[in-house]
Symmetry: C2
Subunit: 296 residues, 2 copies
């Protein structure tokens, strides 16, 4: 479950609801590409924008259409009571694991975040992945807190923010965390431009936005890193540099949703308002980047 | 509506739901103190943590128990579709105005935020207050964007973050914004420690957390500033310095919820988990601060 490529697909939607046929097509695309796991209802899957019933339905569709690929389901919400309900729903839908970010409106304290994971893990029968994403949660985990939470039952993985592009710094960061968590806990990297660097630095897996739409391009990077071909993994990632530049400028979600629209894999709009996919010159530029990279 | 003291009460709650009798007592306390308006379901009222039906019920209770005091109701949510539903509910409940923050999970662009206000104001029949709170929304309004949004129909107020403690800087900040918005749009200050400074700098009103639990203490500051007694307003605010220090350290919500618990105006717990009120030494310290300030 927590090794190799964890592909995070978009949940295509509009103001009327989730576009279920489009979502199923994306899941089938990932299953037939042979990704190692699927992360449904991650940030790229716009989990916080959906109602509980919609999230249950999306989790069910992901599991039903993923073939043998294990599916992890995002269960984050502002309130503990909602997280517990969503965890039950995800398990009922057949999720192989759940992903939990400490979503906040009021800035949370470390003790509150520990209390959240403590209460939720007590209710779980499937593995949990700690979702460390300060860009959306505005909570900064200390390594010490990661170490405490990683001792809780059912915790099996940590999804960390991008590692440094400096090889020694990246390796030191992963090793520092590794020393603080039980050996059963996998460490995976996110931030697509840091996928190759994270895997080369010793991460077990890559939680990938690009992998949710372009699984082959992401698998080339992952398989190279897994084979010990660090340079080749970096070369494959650097080839996608024009895409990473757009991710950094507009956010991965807007870029990947626009790409799905351009590929005809999702209708436009595919994002929950007020969020919009790219428009005008940015949209045209993305189209030519995809063409140059032979991703269309 | 948008002048003087706008008092923001807690919505006392626990994992089972909203403590409606406690909320009604808080509203009655504000109405009998003679605050100028009540901001129900603001950040202090934990609006994003409640379900739609709970928010409708809280809005109704606020309006029904506020006597002649006008009630503004928070309608923020991640999705435009939910904001529009909440706006309808608030109007149905009899709100005199609505308060809208650009709540985010994915960081929003200026165009997306403008689009949000444009779509919502089109559906409104009551005034709207723009809620500029980068600490919780992680969106930074430019003055230019405020100016554009302020032109939209129904926009009648802006709730700005704390002004500088430097008198000239505070006045310059309010005047810069004032020049960009129509004269029908009131400018109010938040951040309780900046209440007196904001009013003295020319703000029309103070959106106050402390005023939601200790209306008399807040009214003393407001009435002094309104009478042109700038020094007296500052003196009254500085007297509450030990409370402002706690607000800065623990967040206004945790401090005021703990104070309500200590006063017996709310049961413990009164906040939505994972958020907790103060514990241990911090709780004891708050108790002695309240006693010293003769607020108990």
């Amino acid at each position: 479950m927590f090794s190799g490529l964890s592909a995070f697909p978009l949940t295509p939607m509009n103001e009327a609801g989730v576009d279920e046929p489009a979502f199923v097509r994306l899941i089938e695309r990932l299953a037939s590409a042979g990704v190692d796991s699927i992360g449904a209802l991650g940030s790229t899957g716009s989990y916080p924008y959906l109602a509980r019933a919609e999230r249950l339905r999306v989790a069910q569709l992901a599991v039903e259409n993923a073939g043998n690929v294990p599916v992890m389901v995002g269960i984050g919400a502002l309130r503990l009571r909602d997280v517990i309900d969503l965890a039950q729903d995800a398990q009922k839908a057949g999720a192989s694991a759940v992903l939990l970010a400490p979503v906040s409106y009021q800035k949370l304290t470390a003790e509150e975040v520990f209390g959240l994971y403590e209460a939720v893990t007590r209710t779980l029968s499937v593995p949990l992945c700690i979702y460390d994403n300060p860009g959306t949660t505005h909570f900064e985990f200390s390594d010490e807190l990661h170490g405490r939470i990683a001792q809780l039952p059912q915790v099996r993985a940590i999804k960390i923010p991008p590692v440094s592009a400096d090889r020694d710094a990246a390796r030191a960061r992963v090793e520092r965390l590794r020393a603080l968590v039980p050996s059963r806990v996998a460490i995976g990297v996110s931030g697509d431009w840091a996928g190759a660097d994270g895997l080369n630095a010793g991460c077990d897996n890559w939680y990938s936005v690009v992998g949710g739409l372009f699984p082959q391009a992401a698998l080339h990077i992952v398989r190279a890193a897994q084979a010990g071909e660090a340079q080749e993994a970096v070369r494959r990632s650097e080839r996608l540099q024009p895409l990473w530049a757009l991710f950094r400028q507009y956010g991965g979600l807007r870029v990947i949703a626009t790409a799905a629209e351009l590929l005809g894999l999702a209708d436009r709009p595919s994002l929950p308002l007020p969020i919009r996919s790219l428009d005008g010159a940015a949209r045209v530029h993305l189209g030519s980047v995809l063409a140059e990279l032979k991703l269309v």
